[in-house]
Symmetry: C2
Subunit: 217 residues, 2 copies
């Protein structure tokens, strides 16, 4: 039988800093894998990997992500504050190394697109750059921010303005099969996993067992 280990609050607080960062970043489960594209007032584009992009609501269509205004992600934050626009671009199996490389602390005069070999793409009059290599791409407008008093992070809230994706990636009832476009998921600070759909399940009701609805739409 497998040995279960217990970490209490005291043990967690006493952990080596790097161990704790790896551990706590993994322990909440899998995360989304996205690159956020922004444009600086100086005309330098920015691309940064984020694992905290989360669905906030469908009507209106809102998403959120967590940032630290004072660390490496500061360019994303200041660019969004300056021009109110950003893009969210899904990471897939073919671009995990370049995507992870965007986390390096490049100088503000350097575009991560150029530095990592990824391709910036502009659509219509939207100022923020999209990632040409991504299959699923979202244009967002800044709506609000919520400072998290407990640790100095900020929940950024964006309104979904445009979505671009392959016609083959979604079903007749709107569900997007993320593994059909080789979408990956983030495990901790530095690891990427590929995915394989297990099942799509029926709407849960108290008097009925859920069943597979795969292939029904």
């Amino acid at each position: 039988m497998e040995k279960i280990v217990h970490f209490d609050k005291e043990k967690i607080e006493g952990l080596d800093k790097r161990f704790r960062a790896n551990f706590i970043n993994s322990v909440t489960g899998y995360k989304s894998a996205n690159l956020i594209g922004t444009m600086g007032v100086d005309g330098v584009s920015n691309l940064a990997v984020f694992s905290s992009v989360t669905h906030l609501g469908s009507n209106p269509a809102l998403l959120g992500f967590i940032t630290r205004p004072t660390t490496v992600e500061r360019h994303t934050y200041s660019n969004i504050k300056a021009n109110k626009q950003f893009t969210v671009n899904h990471i897939h199996t073919d671009i995990i190394k370049q995507s992870h490389q965007t986390a390096a602390r490049y100088d503000k005069s350097v575009s991560e697109f150029e530095a990592t070999g990824l391709t910036e793409d502009y659509i219509g009059d939207f100022k923020a750059p999209f990632l040409a290599e991504a299959h699923i791409r979202i244009a967002c407008e800044y709506v609000n921010e919520y400072p998290i008093a407990e640790n100095g992070t900020v929940l950024m809230v964006g309104a979904i303005k445009d979505i671009y994706l392959p016609e083959s990636a979604f079903t007749d009832d709107g569900w997007i099969n993320l593994s059909s476009v080789n979408g990956v998921t983030v495990n901790g600070l530095d690891s990427y996993a590929k995915t394989e759909l297990l099942d799509r399940l029926s709407y849960a009701k108290p008097d009925k067992e859920v069943r597979s609805v795969l292939g029904e739409s």
Copy 2:
């Protein structure tokens, strides 16, 4: 070449309600798959599937999740407000149907553990129930809540108090290999994917290409 479809704001707002819910819930990428356990003041335990549990910070160790106080998730919210404790339990490949079933609108007098055949487990004097079937289990204390003005949801913030997991699931530097414990990830409102580790990458630096560090710790 694949056909790319464009949904603009107007088209998104005009979508059928169910299509839009499926679509927008999928479009931000993969989500964490957890069951949150709470105890009611009436002594009835509660277990509810959540796909919004997110890492907020490592020092102090904090996590967050999004809830809607006025919908099906209301029992989780009111139980946490009443006794300030909750557990986060990872969903794995063997329990996706029972986990999804917890989303049914059971009456407040019904425990989802009993209704779905999952097993409640109590550790020490912690009041909230853990899920016996989960490999990775976290005890949390309520810290704060941030109402999201844009849509009436709430970001709940919890402090990580205890973590229980198999010794074989984490490396010497604290990284938890979630696919080693058959962890799943959520795609949209109703779909579950299994995962396979692609790579673990080195810390990104401007002057260096990231490389695989798998097996180095």
